[in-house]
């Protein structure tokens, strides 16, 4: 009961933002530790699995943008800091928008839900990039994004119900 009250206080949309930020954090240890232990780059290991899961769970547009950035700069540092900065900026921006006036928060939630819906649709299309990190990571990424969409829809429904009541 206490957990439900706390979740209501946080807001399901805020949980969705947390989900995204945590997924962004997952690949970071792999890149951060790799300069010291080059063996991490040539063997499959737990950190590599975390990397796969984290990258697959990010919105497709961001993962593709990171891949393009990596190809053009050939720099893992650029990928690392772009990922971290994007997570921080998105967290700050969305946190502010979701705590703004109810109308603004609702528009933000709708926009996010729309983007996530489009992204989920993009994931099921047979593009080779959708399976770049393997079936398991792709399925988990899809599940995380579907959960985020469900959280946003729950918030939107709740807002509509309270407006009607």
């Amino acid at each position: 009961m206490e957990l439900i009250d706390r979740m209501k206080k946080i807001g399901f949309s805020q949980l969705c933002v947390y989900c995204y930020q945590i997924c962004t954090l997952l690949p970071l240890p792999y890149i951060l530790v790799a300069p010291g232990y080059m063996g991490l780059l040539t063997h499959r290991n737990l950190l590599s699995v975390l990397f796969d899961v984290g990258m697959a769970a990010l919105p497709r547009a961001e993962t593709l943008a990171l891949s393009l950035l990596y190809r053009h700069t050939a720099s893992e540092r650029a990928v690392y800091f772009t990922m971290l900065t994007a997570a921080l900026l998105l967290g700050l921006l969305l946190g502010r928008l979701l705590r703004a006036a109810p109308k603004t928060a609702e528009i933000t939630q709708r926009a996010l839900a729309g983007l996530l819906g489009a992204d989920l649709l993009l994931r099921v299309l047979p593009f080779p990039c959708n399976l770049a990190f393997g079936w398991a990571a792709s399925a988990l990424g899809f599940a995380v994004e579907a959960l985020c969409l469900a959280l946003l829809v729950t918030d939107l429904r709740g807002a509509r119900r309270s407006a009607a009541g």
């Binding site: 893992e76 990928v79 770049a132």
Partner: protein, 210 residues
């Protein structure tokens, strides 16, 4: 009203950003510094007065002229070990790019020997030599052994937008550098490559694969 400070996820990200900037830059710089040995290798390119030079004193690249006194014509990390050759006024060679963490990426480039302009013909490919009938033979998609997407998550990320993930053997026209024949072959990076592709003419390979 007294406000109690909250440690949010955004604050955690900001802290991670700050500390990892220091750790990352420090470790990468230290690893790069510890790798630095004094080298001055000079690999001559057959039939030309050019040479590929790796040096810790001068910039790496293609030099023209006598050893150690030559002039730098094209800067970059070029590799002559897999096969480098000239056709007319063009030089075909591999160019390597190292990422921050030391992954080696490879592209096949064509260098005009009159103007020394460099043109990337096949990105993420290795020039493996010439076949018996003289066409340059390249392998695309596989890259170097340390860059196999199956073993390396970063290479999976890199390969997401490459478009050609399958390992393919490509024959180029020596004059125009256009791909004239392609054979998808997952085993192309095996040691028997020479016998299967380089010791046969293009016609024989085409007949063998048809």
């Amino acid at each position: 009203m007294v406000r109690t400070p909250k440690f949010t996820l955004n604050a955690l990200l900001a802290v991670v950003l700050f500390f990892s900037a220091m750790i990352f830059f420090f470790t990468v710089t230290m690893v790069n510094l510890s790798d630095r040995l004094a080298v001055n290798e000079y690999i001559e390119i057959e039939g030309t007065d050019l040479a590929v030079r790796y040096s810790s004193l001068e910039p790496n690249g293609i030099y023209q002229g006598s050893k150690n006194m030559g002039t730098l014509k094209v800067e970059g990390d070029f590799g002559a070990e897999w096969g480098t050759f000239t056709a007319g006024d063009c030089l075909y060679i591999n160019e390597y790019t190292a990422t921050d963490l030391g992954l080696m990426l490879c592209s096949v480039v064509k260098i005009d020997l009159t103007t020394f302009d460099k043109q990337v013909i096949l990105p993420n490919a290795i020039l493996r030599g010439r076949c018996a009938s003289g066409e340059p033979v390249c392998v695309t998609g596989g890259m170097l052994p340390s860059n196999f997407p199956e073993t390396n998550s970063l290479c999976r990320l890199y390969n997401m937008t490459v478009g050609r993930e399958d390992i393919t053997v490509r024959y180029l026209d020596p004059g125009t550098a256009e791909v004239i024949y392609s054979v998808p072959d997952d085993t192309a990076l095996q040691p028997d490559f020479e016998g299967r592709y380089l010791e046969r003419t293009l016609g024989e390979v085409m007949a063998w694969n048809s």
